[in-house]
């Protein structure tokens, strides 16, 4: 009995936000027509180009379930969602950011809290990364999860420090925060659904070769 081949091409989950432009540039270089995606910022599914667009943090969810075969997202997202069963195929190099520990300039209140109170309060959008980092470095921390504008937390006394992603450090500086420790470097990664990686090996490997050739 013949086993049917795949009629449609690979579906790629593309992150809207900071990585959006460079991701589309990469796909365009691979010969994928990204014109419609660039022109239309409300539409989400582009069947002809094989592209679906979404928040970066949703990319692993779609790829894990096989709703997309491949995806592009930041290493920060993958670290925060390390339980997701996806293959990490390639470091694409762009979208370089750093995960840092930062607090208000001047005497480090985080250090003081640890010394005198035994526990430091850390505000972050990345509770898993922050928890892991303080566990590894042997310090007690209370992780406060916030959904946006983390910089506000140390300025208002919600927390003594923050764990956040920064590309240029501008937002930190503008809010009077300084980097105290560097936790990890995050760049854009190409990820794949494990089953698609086995069943569509030739197509995926050809794509990887072309990315390497750019």
């Amino acid at each position: 009995m013949p086993i049917p081949e795949f009629p449609n091409h690979l579906r790629i989950a593309v992150p809207r936000g900071a990585l959006f432009g460079e991701t589309l540039d990469l796909l365009a270089q691979l010969g994928i027509d990204t014109g419609e995606v660039r022109a239309n910022d409300r539409k989400l599914l582009f069947e002809d180009a094989g592209i679906v667009t979404m928040r970066p943090s949703d990319v692993p969810t779609y790829v894990e379930a096989g709703a997309a075969d491949l995806g592009i997202t930041g290493k920060d997202v993958l670290l925060e969602q390390s339980e997701r069963d996806v293959y990490e195929l390639m470091d694409l190099g762009f979208g370089r950011c750093e995960m840092v520990l930062a607090s208000v300039a001047g005497e480090d209140r985080a250090e003081e809290a640890l010394r005198r109170l035994g526990v430091v309060r850390i505000a972050t959008k990345y509770p898993k990364i922050a928890t892991g980092y303080f566990l590894q470095t042997g310090r007690q921390a209370e992780i406060v999860e916030v959904k946006g504008s983390v910089e506000l937390a140390p300025l208002t006394g919600l927390a003594e420090a923050i764990v956040d992603l920064t590309a240029t450090g501008t937002t930190l500086r503008e809010n009077g925060l300084v980097i105290r420790e560097r936790i990890a470097v995050a760049t854009a990664r190409l990820i794949a659904n494990p089953v698609a990686h086995k069943l569509r090996a030739a197509e995926i490997d050809a794509l990887l070769e072309r990315i390497r050739g750019i």
Binding site: P4, E64, V86, E88, V195, L199
Partner: protein
């Protein structure tokens, strides 16, 4: 009812009797389909000479503590009236190894058993990933090497055919391949474990970084990385040189013993590693394009029975019935379109 009343909504959830996260009730429509599906597969198993066994859902914890089970480690523990620690079985392979060593201690091998049983794992619940889930599988005890592995693949494909799944493929790898190469390159044990864990998780960026740090020649580095990614038809077993060619002898032998129908289903996957400690050689995983996760898995575990005092080579597989059912439903839906 006025709008205001309606906004007050249903009674507070506290009044609903819930079931534990990751478990679920099965109602007659679904149950009928699952029963029919497992009956079809069970028919194949019996036909091939695999007798059905049942083992208790509760076992002593020490039965499972001889092995590194990682994902398949027991998650649910309780005490009996003597204070002994009991676990809910996380798989059926170990209970059947125990059963063979105790009930068949003098029986002439090979022995063939099948089961359709619930097992329990502390997974992150989602569709197709329950904490209590039904496995249909077989174990072939005392049939060594390629012949036993080939028989297992034949039974696996026959069961999937009987289930009605059409587009499935079986990934076949050798869990000793990558470790033996790392061993040959004198990679220290901690590093080996890191690389194998990354490989099992599909972290190819991590593998690349680790391999780059091993201080090997660039040709050897390239070979290790290429091997991790090599998967495809039988052609991937040829055209390799020296040590690598010899290391693939077992897989070539299995391929030689497969019927054309079964061989057409197999993807040879040189980077396939499974993070369950008892696998010693051939390992396999079942994929279907209609479902994003493997729907079954298995492999050779030639050392496991020895730890129970009856050293016999063995091989087996288990299919996740819930995932198989989802894949079947998706295939049917796609065929209707």
């Amino acid at each position: 009812m006025s709008t205001v009343d309606r906004l007050e909504g249903p009674p507070a959830p506290a009044q609903v009797d819930r079931i534990p996260s990751g478990t679920r009730d099965v109602l007659p429509d679904e149950m009928r389909e699952i029963r029919a599906l497992t009956d079809r597969m069970h028919g194949v198993f019996e036909q091939a000479g695999y007798g059905e066994v049942y083992t208790p859902a509760l076992e002593y914890e020490r039965t499972f503590s001889r092995q590194t089970l990682d994902q398949a480690a027991p998650a649910y523990r309780m005490f009996d009236e003597q204070g002994s620690v009991l676990v809910l079985r996380p798989d059926m392979t170990i209970p059947i190894a125990r059963l063979v060593a105790t009930r068949y201690s003098h029986a002439e091998p090979p022995l063939r058993f099948c089961y359709t049983s619930y097992v329990y794992r502390g997974v992150r619940p989602q569709r197709g990933q329950s904490r209590e889930f039904l496995q249909a599988g077989v174990e072939l005890i005392g049939s060594p090497g390629a012949a036993g592995t080939a028989e297992m693949l034949a039974v696996l494909c026959a069961a999937l055919d009987a289930a009605g799944l059409r587009n499935y493929r079986v990934g076949l790898g050798d869990s000793s391949l990558y470790p033996s190469l790392l061993e040959a390159f004198d990679v220290n044990l901690a590093r080996q474990e890191r690389i194998l864990a990354e490989l099992a998780a599909g972290d190819f960026v991590g593998v690349e970084e680790e391999v780059a740090g091993l201080g090997l020649s660039s040709a050897d580095q390239a070979m290790l990385l290429r091997l991790a990614r090599t998967r495809g038809g039988p052609e991937v077993l040829d055209g390799l040189s020296g040590r690598l060619h010899d290391a693939l002898g077992g897989m070539r032998e299995v391929h030689r013993l497969l019927s054309p129908e079964v061989a057409a289903r197999v993807i040879f996957d040189l980077g396939l590693v499974r993070n369950i400690g008892y696998y010693t050689g051939a390992v396999f995983q079942v994929y279907d394009p209609a479902y994003g996760m493997p729907i079954g898995a298995g492999g050779r575990y030639d050392e496991l029975l020895g730890t129970f005092g009856r050293p016999l080579p063995a091989v087996g597989f288990a299919l996740n019935v819930e995932r198989l059912h989802i894949a079947l439903t998706s295939e049917e839906r796609a065929a209707r379109r």
